[in-house]
């Protein structure tokens, strides 16, 4: 009904009223908090209603957006095709543009050649010449002095995509949780936090300026903290919550510094569109952009679990499983990836993504994919396997954005959300059946007989994750590998060898560790002591829906060569790219698109199948001797010392936790305390006289140095100077505030006099 009305107006109702979507769960949070406990379903019904309403709105917004983008493409095809745009100056290759995107490329280079479009006029410009320009609805939040702070929503392909994903998975997780945490003592509290999280994430996604992004970012962090520590009575859980919070604090410093740098570098603005436009047009200095992108990278590393700051994410599995699925797999952890996409102009220019062969983002992402994938091998806890797998897949997304394959990164974010949520909820279903244990070796095995629905959906999710065609993960992972631009005939934005190689390794690793997980969980003999049973419909229905999505969403972005080869309708190709990635607007860089390569797809799939097969044979052989053993002594690592050493490193998680808590925290804790004491004793007292002390020391040093002319004597002398001046200055330290004040005012007067005379 609304859609029909809105389609006629210039800017749809859904764009201007996008704020309603986060407002619904926010209202639900307040309502649950105040009235939840008195309601028949303890507040769950409010949460589900609000999120369902938000989901409906998000779907309508998505369809409106898709309709508008299609209309833009259609109108531009009519109007612009007559113009001649030969080569892609905006892109990075000097050859002819790939067939997939020559028109967009040509258009964008034409736009770039024109004077930069002011951000304010973008909406009108976007109507006829471009595609996917962000639609900003803002009003003044507050003003202070000459600065006005605005608050509003920004709707574009990226935010619409996230709106859909967040509301969809949140709704399923809400339904799932009514069964999963049924009877929990903080059931109402749990639903309140889920609502708050959903609201915060949607708010973050719709932010139109960096100030709002910081708010949303911190809010989701708080919700994550609260939900990881949901069962805080156990120390491990509250420790995990604290660890998540503190690790994220490290990154938040980067976020703040980066955002402040951007604010000043882009001429006192928080506006996302303006920051991006100025970065791309070269108005902002490259140094500032580099500093800002490196600082923001630290934030991405902490929030999106990138290597060396990823350690909190596996521990975050201490929270309830629905939380792991929603927050620590599908939505919150991609906030970092979303940040990169939102400020892509900044990263694009700051890290010089086009035409290079390595940059901080691609390197971090690549290391994370392999590092996380390897760690997944040594976990007994099924959720931790999935957590490290999430780390690894997030690494893929960051790699993709780092090599300039924007759509590939966003598409992987999109597909990953569905199959990873499916896997997490499946793991929750398994543990629900096995006395809430997550230990694959001790309490699982052979579960396929007892829980067929969970088994089937878990298999689908795993295949999608492992990148087996034609499931969702295959399409997005293939695009990332293509996007590195290494494989012959792909033509990406640069030649990124290291991300390519690491990506290929991870393709194999993913298949292998997921095979291990499936084998340990569902095959062999049951090794636990419970009576496993299939979970109820409120758990299995979301699983089935997610598994269905994991199968189909990959088809949203079929590569163009494939579509033409198979003779499918032309409209089926690169849908997702057209919907999500803006084209030819000032606030988004002109990205070159890699073209898909069939040999590469075959190679990656073959690698995955081979790795999965090998892992399968290994575990089959291992458990053939004693199907009920909970721990193996004659596995690979007891036969091969190299494997044993590797296992030890992995089992200790690369010793990062030791480094953080033992070495860094341990080494700073004591010294900081004593340094603080020392400062108290020496500095604060002497602060007024620091200048005097320094000049006396310097004077004596120079005197002795020049006088004696010998270095060793000077060294001796400076030692004596230090003790001598210390003795002398000690007498000045009377402790009399009055004297200090006299010195301060006197020095101030003297300084002014010096300035007057000197200037």
């Amino acid at each position: 009904m609304f859609a029909a009305e809105a389609a006629e107006t210039a800017v749809s109702w859904f764009y201007t009223h996008a704020w309603v979507i986060p407002a619904l769960p926010a209202a639900s949070f307040v309502l649950i908090l105040f009235f939840g406990k008195r309601l028949p379903f303890k507040g769950a019904e409010i949460g589900i209603t609000a999120v369902a309403a938000a989901f409906v709105l998000a779907v309508l917004t998505t369809f409106t957006w898709i309709g508008d983008v299609q209309a833009e493409i259609a109108s531009h095809e009519e109007g612009v095709t007559t113009e001649e745009h030969g080569t892609t100056e905006g892109g990075t290759t000097e050859e002819e543009a790939p067939a997939t995107s020559s028109e967009e490329e040509g258009l964008s280079s034409g736009e770039q050649a024109a004077p930069a479009i002011p951000a304010a006029e973008e909406e009108e410009e976007g109507a006829h010449a471009t595609r996917g320009a962000p639609i900003v609805t803002e009003r003044t939040w507050f003003s202070n002095g000459a600065d006005t702070f605005r608050i509003g929503t920004l709707v574009d392909g990226q935010s619409v995509m996230l709106l859909f994903v967040v509301t969809f998975i949140s709704l399923l997780v809400h339904v799932y949780s009514t069964d999963y945490v049924h009877g929990d003592r903080r059931y109402t509290h749990f639903f309140a936090f889920l609502s708050l999280f959903t609201a915060a994430m949607l708010y973050y996604v719709l932010s139109s300026n960096t100030l709002q992004m910081i708010m949303g970012w911190e809010l989701v962090g708080v919700c994550s903290f609260g939900l990881i520590g949901h069962w805080w009575e156990e120390k491990a859980n509250s420790d995990a919550a604290l660890k998540a919070f503190f690790t994220n604090r490290v990154g938040d410093i980067g976020l703040l510094v980066g955002m402040i740098t951007l604010y000043f570098a882009s001429g006192n603005t928080f506006d996302v569109v303006e920051i991006n436009s100025k970065a791309i047009s070269g108005e902002t200095s490259h140094t500032a952009l580099l500093v800002a992108s490196l600082c923001l990278m630290a934030a991405v590393m902490s929030k999106s679990g990138q290597f060396i700051l990823h350690t909190w994410l596996p521990d975050a599995m201490a929270g309830p499983t629905p939380v792991s699925a929603l927050i620590h797999a599908a939505t919150m952890v991609v906030a970092g990836v979303y940040l990169i996409g939102r400020l892509y102009g900044v990263f694009w220019m700051g890290l010089s993504i086009p035409g290079s062969s390595i940059n901080a983002m691609a390197a971090i992402g690549a290391v994370t994919t392999v590092g996380g994938g390897l760690l997944a091998f040594v976990q007994r806890d099924i959720k931790k396997v999935l957590a490290y797998s999430t780390v690894s897949q997030l690494g893929y997304m960051v790699t993709a954005l780092g090599v300039g394959a924007y759509t590939a990164g966003m598409f992987h974010l999109f597909t990953h959300a569905f199959f990873k949520a499916c896997l997490f909820l499946g793991a929750g279903s398994v543990s629900h059946a096995c006395h809430h244990s997550f230990d694959m070796k001790a309490d699982m095995g052979g579960l396929r007989k007892y829980m067929p629905k969970t088994f089937a959906t878990f298999i689908i999710g795993s295949l999608a994750l492992a990148g087996i065609p034609p499931l969702a993960g295959f399409w997005s992972k293939d695009e990332i590998l293509v996007g590195t631009g290494v494989f012959p005939g792909t033509d990406g934005n640069g030649t990124y060898w290291m991300p390519f190689i690491f990506g290929m390794i991870t393709a194999g690793l993913t298949a292998a560790y997921m095979t291990r997980t499936i084998w340990l969980t569902f095959f062999g003999e049951y090794r636990g002591h419970a009576h496993p049973h299939e979970s109820g419909p409120r758990i299995t229905t979301p699983l089935i829906i997610l598994a269905f999505m994991a199968v189909v969403v990959g088809f949203l972005n079929l590569p163009e060569p494939l579509v033409s080869t198979l003779g499918l309708p032309e409209g089926w190709a690169i849908r997702f790219e057209e919907w999500v990635e803006p084209g030819g607007i000032a606030s988004f860089p002109a990205i070159g698109h890699a073209s898909a390569s069939l040999p590469l797809a075959l190679l990656a799939s073959a690698l995955a199948v081979l790795a999965g097969f090998l892992a399968w044979r290994y575990y089959q052989a291992l458990y053939a001797k004693d199907p009920h053993a909970a721990e193996y002594t004659d596995g690979l690592r007891s036969r091969n010392s190299l494997a044993a050493a590797g296992y030890k490193v992995l089992d200790n998680k690369y010793y990062l936790d030791h480094l953080y808590t033992g070495i860094i925290a341990g080494a700073t804790k004591g010294p900081i305390a004593s340094a603080a004491y020392w400062i108290n004793q020496n500095i604060i007292d002497g602060i007024i006289n620091v200048a005097g002390k320094f000049s006396v020391g310097l004077g004596r040093f120079v005197y002795h140095f020049i006088d004696q002319g010998m270095v060793d004597q000077a060294v001796n002398a400076s030692g004596q100077t230090a003790s001598g001046s210390g003795q002398f200055l000690r007498r000045i330290q009377t402790g009399q505030i009055r004297q200090y004040a006299t010195l301060m005012f006197g020095s101030a007067a003297l300084l002014v006099a010096v300035f007057i005379i000197a200037i």
Partner: protein, 179 residues
């Protein structure tokens, strides 16, 4: 308050010579009272001299067309802060009479520093604003303009200030509490 506005209106009608004379009187009163305040041997007298200085400064505000600041000066400084200071005198049981040792042995250094600062400041003020004159037709800033500015442009500092006052309130209670 209405007296202030009346004075303001009277001033705006009078010639600048009269205003200047008025200012001269206020300035002399303020400086003399301030000097008496920092040299007085009686704490309560010092407080009363401070009262005189603050009133004179309020008069200066009226001359400058800042009626609301003048009114606030009277209400907050002369009313609240002076009472607070007198309470301080009372609670610390200072003698209500002459004391001999209110100054410390450092007063000459203090005087030197004060004179030195006065010298450099006067010099730089002469250099900087030697001939600058206030506009002849000085439009008094109305209270409405001030409040529009506080609750519009400077709302955030205002909110921060209210937090500061709260923190100071709690801090003062915690520090001075007997326990």
């Amino acid at each position: 308050m209405s007296a202030v506005i009346l004075a303001q209106e009277a001033l705006s009608r009078t010639e600048s010579g009269v205003v200047n004379a008025f200012f001269a009187v206020l300035a002399i009163v303020a400086v003399v009272a301030a000097l008496k305040m920092v040299t007085s041997n009686n704490v309560v007298h010092a407080a009363l001299y401070l009262l005189v200085v603050l009133s004179a400064v309020a008069g200066v505000y009226v001359i400058l067309g800042a009626e609301f600041v003048a009114a606030t000066q009277v209400l907050v400084y002369l009313g609240a802060i002076m009472v607070l200071l007198l309470f301080g005198v009372m609670l610390t049981r200072a003698k209500i009479g002459a004391e001999t040792d209110l100054d410390n042995e450092q007063r000459w250094i203090g005087a030197l520093v004060g004179l030195g600062m006065m010298a450099v400041m006067s010099y730089s003020l002469w250099e900087g604003f030697g001939d600058d004159k206030l506009p002849d037709s000085m439009v008094p800033q109305t209270t409405q303009a001030v409040s529009d500015s506080i609750f519009g442009t400077y709302l955030v500092p205002f909110e921060a200030l209210s937090l500061l006052l709260l923190a100071a309130l709690i801090g003062a209670v915690v520090v001075a509490r007997r326990d």
